[in-house]
């Protein structure tokens, strides 16, 4: 077995991790220059949300948010996993150095904000000031996204969203085809069950996650059985914008994020449905 290597941060000696290979980090940071980083960071910081500004000017560095974090708790209370520590190692440092940070530093930031924080906002419930810590993490995610330093699998899905409005490169033909054969198979057991596509004026438009037609089609079967048995007047949209997954949201690709949400609402409006039901 190979000797266990360790990554020690240049800036923060306590930040020690096992090496992780991800082309989304390793290859992308090679293309970065310090000028580009500085420009990007400063442009994001200039348009920084007031909620982030208020948090930066209020945080008294008490670390009472630590116990909220499952990363912190599950790593034997390693201080580098504390929510405030994640801000300290990313956003505070960027501000302190006026955006003059190295590509390696951006790689470290990306690792922290994408792989060591779920942005669950539990820390805000433990913070005496109710500061929006996850939103600060999001700000750093936005910087990393604009620099292209994003875990590869999630960036690929974001590209899929950008091109097809669904998460997993599913063509419209594939999507309709999947719904049709699923209807056929489900009807073997549940007679007369329908998987209605584009039913005008239905009560509910159901928007699955892209993974459902792609990988776990049995979810669609079960949903249709539940809807059918409950007697709900439902439908799905055939046009792009049928997928409620939004990976763009997680990496703060706000432009694609917005297009996905708009696609869903436009479909719902066109089908004149009363309610939009999403898979969670």
């Amino acid at each position: 077995m190979a000797v266990e290597e360790k990554v020690v941060s240049r800036e923060f000696k306590k930040y020690i991790r096992k090496p992780v290979a991800d082309p989304g980090f390793d290859e992308t940071v090679k293309k970065l220059t310090t000028e580009k980083i500085e420009k990007t960071i400063n442009s994001v910081l200039k348009g920084m949300s007031t909620r982030v500004r208020a948090a930066l000017e209020t945080c008294i560095h008490c670390a009472l948010c630590s116990d909220a974090c499952h990363w912190y708790l599950s790593h034997d209370k390693d201080p580098t996993y504390s929510p405030v520590a994640k801000i300290r190692m990313t956003l505070w440092e960027m501000i302190r150095r006026n955006g003059k940070v190295s590509p390696e530093f951006i790689r470290q930031c990306a690792r922290i904000v994408f792989t060591e924080c779920n942005a669950c906002r539990r820390c805000s419930m433990y913070c005496p000031f109710g500061l929006d810590i996850a939103f600060q993490v999001s700000t750093v995610r936005r910087i990393c996204f604009l620099l292209g330093v994003v875990p590869q699998y999630i960036l690929d899905q974001d590209h899929s969203h950008s091109a097809t409005l669904n998460q997993l490169w599913i063509s419209q033909a594939d999507w309709i085809e999947t719904m049709l054969w699923l209807e056929e198979e489900t009807r073997l057991e549940y007679k007369d069950l329908r998987l209605p596509i584009d039913k005008d004026g239905a009560e509910v438009m159901w928007a699955p996650l892209g993974t459902e037609p792609k990988i776990s089609t049995y979810h669609i079967m079960r949903t249709s059985i539940i809807m059918g048995s409950a007697g709900i007047d439902w439908t799905v949209a055939s046009k792009d914008g049928w997928d409620s997954a939004n990976m763009a949201h997680f990496i703060r690709d706000v432009e694609t994020h917005q297009r996905i949400v708009r696609g869903l609402y436009e479909n719902a409006l066109q089908l004149k449905v009363k309610r939009l039901v999403l898979t969670e």
Binding site: R51, A63, Y126, C127
Partner: protein, 224 residues
């Protein structure tokens, strides 16, 4: 003020003009900072439309009452110390007898005052709490990791007025007059520092809680 013009000594400076300067900067600066933050928040799409008085008060109440929130319950020692510290920090200077005498002499106003013994006790609490916060910064790993020099400076700004006031009252260490000069200087430093440093959490607390309380209320969840 007139004393300083008649006799421009250091004592008269810190007792006269500097008090004015400190109070003006404190009130002016605080109002300015609060107004700017509210103004900036109006540009945000998701702050004001979701603001709710009910959820704001609900949130504030749970965090202003000791042991009312989950995190206060989980850390009883921190809760007791931080609450007594903040009560002492805010109310001792306002209701101190000698301060009241001073502004009665200068501006003709005064109000209810604390007994000298109680005020002394509260000052001691503040001083000991500062020692606790200092030790916490040094000894607790997660706090140490996010501690900057500025954190020690802020702690010193809060500590010195009480420490020097306590020493002056008991005539310890230095003669009364130089100690009182130090006391007034440190007090004025604190007033000036509040709007422009993270000590501004004194006001921002209410604003950030209002946002988070309303946000959680809107989602039918609680933030304590």
């Amino acid at each position: 003020m007139y004393d300083f013009i008649k006799d421009p000594s250091l004592y008269n400076l810190v007792r006269g003009p500097l008090v004015w300067v400190a109070f003006l900067i404190f009130f002016g600066g605080s109002i300015y900072k609060i107004k700017t933050l509210i103004q900036l928040a109006k540009n945000e799409k998701v702050v004001f439309p979701y603001m709710s008085i009910k959820y704001t008060l609900r949130s504030l109440l749970h965090w202003l009452i000791p042991f009312a929130s989950r995190n206060w319950k989980r850390r009883p020692m921190m809760t007791i110390i931080t609450f007594t510290f903040h009560i002492g920090l805010v109310f001792t200077p306002i209701f101190l007898l000698s301060h009241n005498i001073l502004w009665y002499e200068s501006w003709g106003i005064s109000w209810w005052t604390l007994s000298e013994g109680l005020a002394d006790f509260m000052a001691i609490i503040v001083i000991l709490s500062c020692a606790f916060f200092f030790l916490r910064r040094i000894l607790t790993p997660e706090v140490k990791f996010v501690t900057f020099t500025s954190d020690y400076v802020l702690l010193a700004i809060a500590f010195l007025p009480f420490f020097t006031g306590f020493l002056a009252y008991h005539h310890l260490l230095l003669p009364y007059k130089p100690m009182v000069i130090l006391h007034m200087l440190s007090g004025e430093t604190m007033l000036i520092a509040i709007p422009f440093t993270r000590l501004g959490h004194m006001f921002y607390f209410f604003l950030t809680r209002a946002y988070m309380g309303s946000d959680h209320g809107f989602r039918h969840s609680i933030d304590w």
